[in-house]
Structures are given as C-alpha cells and as structure tokens.
C-alpha cells in the first residue's frame, strides 16, 4: 500500500509527501495511533487528508498509510438497535472497553464477530443466481428478517449453500461460480463504500405516503415513501422533537437516525426512550427497528461530514432487502458547516457565506439517494430522507436552507412564533408545502373518504384568508370586520387548534392514525358548514367561540381515543344541536 509522510497540519486537515499512488476518497491511517482519514485532494507529490478523529499530538514526519479502498461501512445482521459514530465505530462497545470518553485511534469492528445468527437457506444449490437475489434469511429481530443477497461480484451459479443453522457473520454461507469460472464465497458480513449509491432495479415516483401520525404533515403536507423533505427552523422551534417524533411513529420498516453535530443528551434520550417504546405494528421495542448514528457537536468535525453517508449507506442496505427505510438527518446544516470548515482549512475559494462552491452539488447527491425503487430482486422498497436544517438566525434564505429546498419536494418550515407560544408541531401552514399531494391523493381518497382533497384544500384556503384578514384587523380592529370575515377568523382559529396542534406528550394524541385524521377533518368541515349557515341566518360569529362544543372540537385529538366512529358521530350531533340552539339573542352561558 502507498505511504506518505506528514508535512503540514491544520486542525483536522493535513498534507503529506507521498511515496506511491493514492486515489481520491481513499481511506488512510495516520500516525502511530492509526487515526482514520480520507484523501480529499492530490497534487504532484502531495496528498491532502481529512482526519476523522482528534488530531492532537500528530507531528510532521508521521506516517500516512493508504488502505487501497474508500471508506466502507460494514453491513450484516447486528446493525439494528446499534449506536455508531460518524465512521461506524460502535459506541456502546467502545464505552464498555474504553470508558466514558470517546477514545482516539482505537476501534472495534462495527459488528460483533462472535455472535452466531440462525441462517435459513431459501435457494438450493445448482440454481443460477443474479446480483441481488435472496439466497437465505436471518431473523434479526422479531419484526425484521435480514435477507442475504448475492453481492455484485458474485452472480453466477450457486455451487453450495449452507444448511440451516447458526453462523457467525464472517463464516461463508454460500459459494457461487461465475460464468468465467471465478468462485466467490458469500458471508453474512459485507462491506459497501459510503460515498456511492447502491444499485437498484428501477426508480419510481412516490405513490404511498410515509404516515407520520402528525396531522399537519400527513393531512396538509404529506411526504411519500421514497420522497425527501427538509425541515428548517431556528433554534428552539422543535426540529429535533419533530425528528424524534417521526423516528417514533412513522410507518417505515427501518429508521436510520443520524445525529449530525447535535447534542449528546439527545442521543442519550433516544437510547433511553426507544427501547421502552413499543412498535404498534408488532408490539416490540422501537429500538429493534432503529439504527442510530451519533456524531455529536463536540466530536471530530470531519467524521460529522462522513456521518450522513454512513447513515444513508446503511439505509440502502435495508432498502435492498425490500424494506421501506426512513433516514432522519439532524442536522444537514452541521454537515454543511463541516464541509465549510474543511474547505476553509484548505483555503479554497468560498462561494456564499464561506461555504464551498460544491455545497449544492453535494446536497443534491445526498437527497438524490432517496427514492422509491424496485430492488435488483424485484421487490418494492424505498428510502425516504428527512433533513433538518438549522439556518443561522432563523433566516431561510441562507445557502443551506435555500439549496436544500431545491432538492427536497417537501418543505416543513418551523415557525418561531408558534414555538414560543408552545404551539407544537410549530410547522407554519402557509410557508410549508408538499410537492407530493397530487401523487398521494389517491391513497387518501381510498381511506374511505372521497372528499379528502377537497377538505384539505378548504382548511388551507381558510388559513390563507385568515392571514390576510388578520392584517386588516390589526388596522381597523377585529370588531369592525363584517360577520363573514369574523367567521373566517373564528373558523381558522378553531381549525388551527383542532387539527394543526398536536400534543406529543398525550397518549391519545402523540400518534394520530390516518383514519382518525380523516374523521377529525370531516367533523371540522361539518362544523364549518353549520357555522357558515348559522352566520348566514344572522348569528354573531364570536358567539360560536364560546360554545362548550367548540372546546370539545378543539380538544378532540387528545380527548377522543382512536378513530372511534361513535365518538365522532356524537360530536357531530352535538355541534348540530349547539349551533341550532344559537337562534336567540346570541348570549351564551359560559361555564
């Protein structure tokens, strides 16, 4: 392997004089401690390396060893439930071996070499197997079967396949012979480069929603399985809470949670909370479908840059087995800042706000790894990417927010004013959008309600009108507005409370199933109809706001369990009676 000698060091970046040939993105070991790094530039006899670990103590003269391959992730049974750092070091195992602090230059393999897994062959020897064919299975957790696929180089005839039994990840479980006579062994463990997308069969546009259980997302701004969304918001607007809520409740099979440059305590809370939460679909702990990548803000900055690639490569591994995977990256901005920091150390010419000119193309590459596909074996699968963005000063026009929204079709803008009033999720209904509504409409219409689209649009239009009228009310006073306009304001306020607000800490409301969302929207629109009719009869719209049934309507998310049709029918009947009772001079008794 090629070697080089360090000549210059600046933080996480170094240059070395080479003897031998390195290639771009080649992984390297640096110094006596064998720190992990990656070649990022080559010039004459000099190589430039970014180092993924703390470089304290490195000296000119230290050795850089090329490893011949790019950075890789280890893939195989045993990933689920794990916590890795940005370069896939298993943090739990490191903690057990080396104590409370993240050690430097020390590592243990990402996957446990000693653990035996129950392998069951699904094909017989003698068959021709193409790339991506499923040859066997390992029941990794109760909910997830790990499917063992034929790797890219091993297509051919299945010469031998192991019997059902227990195997460690490095032991061969099958052998193939290619048409050229090359014999390849297949083990449960495999490796994949993190920088390149894994191959797929065909790509399709998203057609079913990723159900998040959050009304403002599913009903107003749905994202499709295989789609991409960005989630920008200033600090304290609830990005992380929303990401964690998605990790808990969204209906993907596998969750990749990437904590990129965020808080250590947040990672700890996932590790503490998720094993205790149950997956509603199989009653098992949520941790069993989750892989966490944690490169917290105080861990080395270059590894932060690598962490999102590590995460998405693991996501693709599960996708290729036929699963729907959600990648929740928090936050893309920290990754972009890591790019900027490395770029600055290299004294590259900056483009906008110090970010390198290649920021948009890197972002595009990342978001493009989302998609709904058929796997090489023909199964339908997807990777959905939700990237949180942390714009400086909450300004959405800054480069990372602006570029991210070019590549993601869902834009969930978090609003500081809502967050300050503790109105969660603080997604702003007028600034946000989804480019998937038309594609997903069909799915929602099938959830036993053909008026979904119409009602959704009605709610949005109402909120738009409210914004305009509020501006006017600020000048002339609300009481000076005509009754129809005050009705719009009243209905928008009620709709906001009833549908948009959701209590993540309430057992009933934390997850709102699609059927319940449909039922809530239906009863709300019924109320609008009745209210409009009442105002047309001459009722004062402000009288509506103090009706006891309006309180019920606004709290139905928390107070009505599940999508019990009886409760919703009762609520609807109560609305009819209450509004019909408003005929008399509109003085309503308040409780």
């Amino acid at each position: 392997m090629a070697e080089a000698t360090v000549t210059w060091i600046n933080g996480p970046v170094l240059r070395a004089r080479r003897q031998g040939s390195f290639h771009i993105k080649e992984a390297v070991h640096v110094g006596a401690a064998r720190l992990v790094g990656e070649v990022i530039a080559l010039r004459d006899d000099s190589v430039t390396v970014q180092v993924f670990e703390d470089t304290t103590g490195l000296r000119p003269g230290d050795l850089v060893q090329g490893l011949g391959t790019g950075l890789v992730v280890e893939l195989g049974p045993g990933l689920l439930g794990q916590l890795f750092d940005g370069i896939q070091r298993p943090l739990r195992a490191l903690g057990e071996l080396y104590g409370d602090l993240v050690p430097v230059g020390l590592s243990v393999p990402p996957l446990d070499r000693e653990r035996a897994w129950a392998f069951r062959p699904v094909l017989e020897a003698g068959l021709a197997v193409p790339v991506g064919a499923v040859i066997g299975e390992v029941q990794e957790t109760v909910g997830i079967v790990n499917r063992v696929l034929v790797p890219a180089a091993a297509a051919g005839t299945l010469e031998w396949i192991a019997e059902e039994g227990e195997y460690r990840i490095e032991e061969p479980v099958a052998r193939t012979r290619s048409p050229d006579g090359i014999v390849q062994e297949i083990a449960l463990l495999r490796r994949a480069p993190i920088r390149a997308p894994a191959p797929v069969g065909e790509r399709f546009a998203p057609a079913i929603p990723l159900v998040t259980g959050q009304r403002i997302l599913d009903t107003l701004f749905p994202v499709g399985k295989g789609g991409a969304a960005t989630l920008p918001g200033g600090f304290g607007t609830g990005k992380t809470i929303l990401q964690q809520t998605l990790a808990k409740w969204c209906d993907a099979d596998i969750i990749l949670y990437i904590g990129c440059g965020e808080r250590g305590n947040e990672m700890a809370s996932i590790l503490t909370e998720f094993p205790g939460l149950t997956d509603p679909r199989n009653g098992r702990p949520l941790m069993e479908r989750t892989v966490v990548i944690a490169n917290t803000s105080n861990m080395p900055v270059a590894a932060r840059e690598a962490s999102i690639y590590t995460g998405i490569s693991i996501a693709e591994y599960f996708r290729d087995q036929g699963y729907h995977v959600a990648v929740l990256a928090d936050s893309i901005s920290r990754w972009a800042e890591a790019l900027r920091e490395i770029s600055g150390r290299l004294e590259e010419l900056p483009a906008e706000e110090g970010y390198p000119a290649y920021l948009p193309s890197r972002l595009a590459e990342f978001f493009e790894r989302a998609g709904r596909v058929t796997t090489l074996a023909g199964a339908e699968a997807s990777v959905t990417v939700v990237g949180a963005v942390s714009p400086p000063g909450g300004d959405f026009s800054e480069p990372v927010s602006a570029h991210a929204r070019r590549f993601a079709r869902c834009f969930w803008a978090l609003d500081r004013e809502r967050a300050q009033a503790r109105f969660y999720p603080a997604v702003h209904p007028l600034q946000s959008y989804s480019g998937y509504v038309d594609q997903l409409e069909r799915w929602w219409q099938d959830r036993d309600d053909l008026h979904w689209r119409e009602r959704r649009d009605r709610l949005l239009r109402l909120l738009e009108k409210q914004a305009k009228l509020e501006r006017m009310a600020k000048i002339v006073g609300r009481d000076a507005l005509p009754a129809e306009q005050r009705l719009v304001l009243a209905c928008a306020e009620i709709g906001t409370e009833a549908i948009l607000r959701q209590n993540a800490y309430s057992e009933q409301d934390a997850f709102c199933a699609p059927r319940k969302q449909v039922a809530m929207l239906r009863v709300l629109c019924h109320f609008f109809d009745q209210a409009e009719a009442a105002v047309a009869r001459g009722i004062d719209p402000d009288a509506l706001l103090t009706l006891p049934v309006v309180r019920k309507l606004q709290r139905m998310g928390e107070d009505i369990a599940g999508d019990d049709p009886e409760s919703f029918r009762a609520l609807q009947a109560e609305i009819d009676i209450a509004i019909a009772g408003l005929e008399l001079p509109a003085e309503v008794e308040s409780a």
Binding site: P60, D100, T240, M267, E341, E353, G393, K474, V476, G477
Partner: protein
C-alpha cells in the same frame, strides 16, 4: 519513528515572527499539534501557549498570556510534549484561580491527584445518562415554565446592563439551599473578561451566604490578556469535572461572559488570517462552543453531575447575532432577559416567550414534580403569548378595539408579570410558584384554557374559584 525528544526541544530559540497573540517558530521538527509550550522571557518568566498549526519545520504557537514585552532574540520556548493539562485534586473548593488555572489567592498549590487535559475528549453518547432530576431554583419563571435539570446546559441570554449576574448568583444561592444534599453541592464560577466588580460582587454575595467553601473561582478579568479567555472556561470545566466525577458532587458551572470568549476566538482567528464566516467569527465557532457546552451532563454510574449556566450578552440585544444563535443551537434551551421588564423593575426580568428548556419534559410531571405541571406550563405559555399579541394589537387599535374576552387575556399578561414573574429576592418553592400560576389562570374564562383537560380544570381551577368567592 524516533524523533528528537525532550532534551533537544528544551529551550528552543529561533522565533521568526510575532503577530497578535501568535508566535512563529522555526526548526520545530518533532513538535505535535496542540502540544503545550512554555514561552520564557528574558527573566525566565513562563507563559503558557500551545501549537496550533505546523508544517515540516515551522510551528505557529498561540500564547495565552499575550506577547507583550517579548523580543524575537531573547525569548525561548520549551515544548512540553503533551496537550495543555491541569492538576486537579482535593481542596480546590474555596480557592481562587487565575484564568489559566493557577492559584492566585496566595494559598498553597493544589496537590495533584490527577492531571487532566483541559480540552476534555467528547463524552461517549452511549455512556450518558439522560438528565432528568428537577432542580428547584426558587425562581418561578424557571421552575414552572422552563425547568432546569441536573446535567443540563441552560444559558442566560442577556443584554448589556441587565441583571444577569444577579440572577446567576441568586440561582447559585437558592439552589444550594435545597434538599439534604448541600454538602455535595459545588459552584464553579468562571469570569471570562468581566470587570473586577462583577467577579468581586459574586464572591461577596456567596461569602455573605457562607457558601464560599463550596465555590471555586476562575478569574480572567477584563484587564487580563484576551487570548487567555480561550483557556478560562476549559480550566474551569476541568475542575468541575473533577469535582463531579471524582468527588461525586453536583456542580453548577457559571460561565460569564461567553460573548467575551467568542470575541477572543475571533481575535485569534483573525491573526491566523482564517476565512471568516458570519460577522468575522470563525467558521468553526459552532464546534468550538460545542466543545465547551457539551461538557455538561451526567454519566451513567457516576454520582456527580455538571450543570452549566453560561451567561452571554447579546450584542445589540440581537438574538440572531452569531454568538447567541450558535449557542442556542447547542445548549438545551435558554433563559432570555428582557429590557422592557427590567425597566419596569421586574426581577428577574425574564422575557418568557423566547425562553425554553429542552430537558424540561424529562424532569417534570407525575412522579417528578406534579402530574399537572406540564399542562400548566403549556397553558401559561399559550395565554401569555396571546396576551403579548393582544398587547401589540391594542397599541394600534386601542384597548376598546378588543373583545371583552381579549381584554381579560390582556390583563392576565400584566398580572402574570407583576405577580408571577416578579419576585424580587424572595425564594419560592415550586408548590408556591405553581399555586400563584393556578390562581392567575383561575381568573380566565374556560374557553381560553384549552391546554387543560376537563379534570384539570375541575381540580385546579374550579376549586380555586370557589375559594375566591367564599
């Protein structure tokens, strides 16, 4: 590969240039990145520095005590072969240290039980314990609405001239009084570029309370070298970690003022001719601040904890300025002080809306504080935000333009500031604070109380209304 070691590296000369706080040395083969150095002047007086960039035979050294009085020819450098470290040991409490961690109170040297790197490696997230123990600060606006838990980092965002120092020392005193764990409690106070008055007032207040033996003070005053400010929070936190993890104490670290720290960072970065990001601050300021703030926390299996209360003054009261902005992205919430409230004589002048405690849900509720505490906090926030909106509106259309129920909410906002927020030097128990809050809510019509369940209204609101009418 054998490198020239200590004997060759002692008393190195060959300094090529000095600029700002930086010293450029030649022929430094074998020197490691971030290695600490002693810079000796003509009288053999040592200053602390560290290597920040190297190429084959040259090194750039950051000198924490500045370069004043040094010459190119007579200055010598001693390379110490290790990162910047600090002795920690028993009896650090009750002492006063300089901004680089050296005792300056005339007392004995610290008997070293251990030597720690001052920049601390990252805590493995897998070893962290989620902070969840409620700390009663005695301040209503914090305890009820932005609860602090052990191991949290909760900064105070303030403005020049606001009473942030008084708030910090009030919390330090009030917290100390709680429960039966007084002897395990400690305060580490790091003054970063603040005036002598500020540091002295804090010391005196703690002394008046007889709390001095629970405190370690680290002082980098406004008159001390700017570059040393990069060191002060790090040595203070190294001391705090020793107290927490070796002596099992619950340590509250007050860092004031982080704005001065960031200015020092910018100054040094500019000397390096680095490409600046926003407002001239270096692009790595987020990571650098994170390396300080992330040292708060709890570690599984360890009895002690490090809780941080950093204070920063927002330049121009602008919360979007890079210093508060980056801090807010790292810390677990923020307590924001408001000038209007301060002007009206409210103490603490906490501007509730932009405040947040991210770890609050972990620390409150059933079995921790009170089952109705979370709903109470949400309800207070909802109505107070509404009151603030109405205040703005009524300044345009007049109070007459508001509906009767809006006027009630508007009045609630003012009463909340006068009765709940303002507490002067009174220490309030959580129960007392919550009771005041329920009383205030009881004056509101029920259709406003959407964050409370029917049972909560029955239990907390109607009973208080009944008492009032009796």
């Amino acid at each position: 590969m054998p490198e020239p070691r200590l004997q060759d590296r002692l008393l190195h000369t060959g300094i090529e240039a000095m600029r700002g706080p930086l010293l450029f040395a030649r022929n430094t083969r074998g020197v490691g990145l971030y290695e600490s150095v002693e810079v000796l002047d003509v009288n053999d007086q040592a200053r602390l520095g560290r290597v920040v960039a190297i190429d084959a035979d040259n090194a750039v050294i950051e000198v924490f005590q500045g370069l004043d009085g040094l010459s190119l020819d007579e200055t010598r450098i001693r390379f110490l072969g290790e990162p910047v470290e600090m002795d920690v040991g028993p009896r650090m409490l009750g002492r006063v240290f300089g901004g680089s961690g050296q005792p300056i109170d005339g007392g004995p040297r610290i008997v070293a039980r251990d030597r720690q790197r001052i920049d601390g490696l990252a805590i493995n997230p897998a070893r962290r314990e989620v902070p969840s123990e409620f700390i009663e600060t005695g301040i209503s606006a914090i305890d009820v609405m932005n609860s602090l838990v052990r191991g949290q980092k909760l900064p105070i965002f303030s403005g020049s001239g606001l009473a942030h120092d008084r708030l910090a020392s009030t919390i330090a005193r009030f917290v100390r009084l709680r429960g039966d764990q007084n002897e395990q409690f400690a305060v580490v106070f790091a003054a970063i570029g603040v005036t002598f008055d500020t540091a002295e007032r804090f010391r005196r207040e703690m002394d008046d309370y007889g709390a001095l033996e629970h405190i370690a003070l680290f002082l980098n005053l406004a008159s001390d070298p700017g570059t040393e400010r990069l060191l002060t929070p790090r040595v203070a936190l190294t001391c705090a970690e020793y107290l927490a993890y070796s002596e099992d104490r619950h340590v509250l670290v007050i860092l004031t003022d982080m704005t001065n720290y960031c200015e020092a960072l910018r100054e040094v970065s500019t000397s390096h001719e680095e490409i600046p990001s926003r407002k001239g601050y270096p692009g790595y300021m987020y990571s650098d601040l994170a390396a300080i703030y992330e040292r708060a926390g709890r570690i599984r299996g360890r009895a002690g904890s490090v809780t941080q209360l950093p204070i920063l003054t927002m330049p121009g009261d602008d919360i979007t300025h890079p210093i508060p902005d980056l801090s807010g992205y790292i810390t677990e919430g923020q307590i924001v002080l408001g000038r209007d409230l301060d002007r009206r004589g409210v103490f603490p002048a906490i501007d509730l809306l932009p405040c947040l405690s991210r770890l609050m849900p972990e620390g409150i509720g059933n079995g921790r504080t009170h089952a109705d505490h979370p709903a109470l906090a949400r309800q207070l926030y909802t109505v107070y935000a509404q009151a603030q909106r109405l205040r703005l509106l009524s300044s345009v259309v007049g109070e007459e333009g508001l509906s009767p129920s809006d006027r009630i909410v508007l009045g609630f906002g003012t009463r909340m500031e006068e009765r709940f927020l303002h507490q002067g030097s009174e220490r309030r128990s959580l129960e007392h604070s919550m009771d005041i809050a329920w009383q205030l809510l009881a004056a509101l019509p029920e259709e406003v109380l959407l964050r409370l369940s029917d049972e909560q209204i029955e239990r907390q609101i109607r009973s208080r209304r009944a008492n009032r009418t009796e």
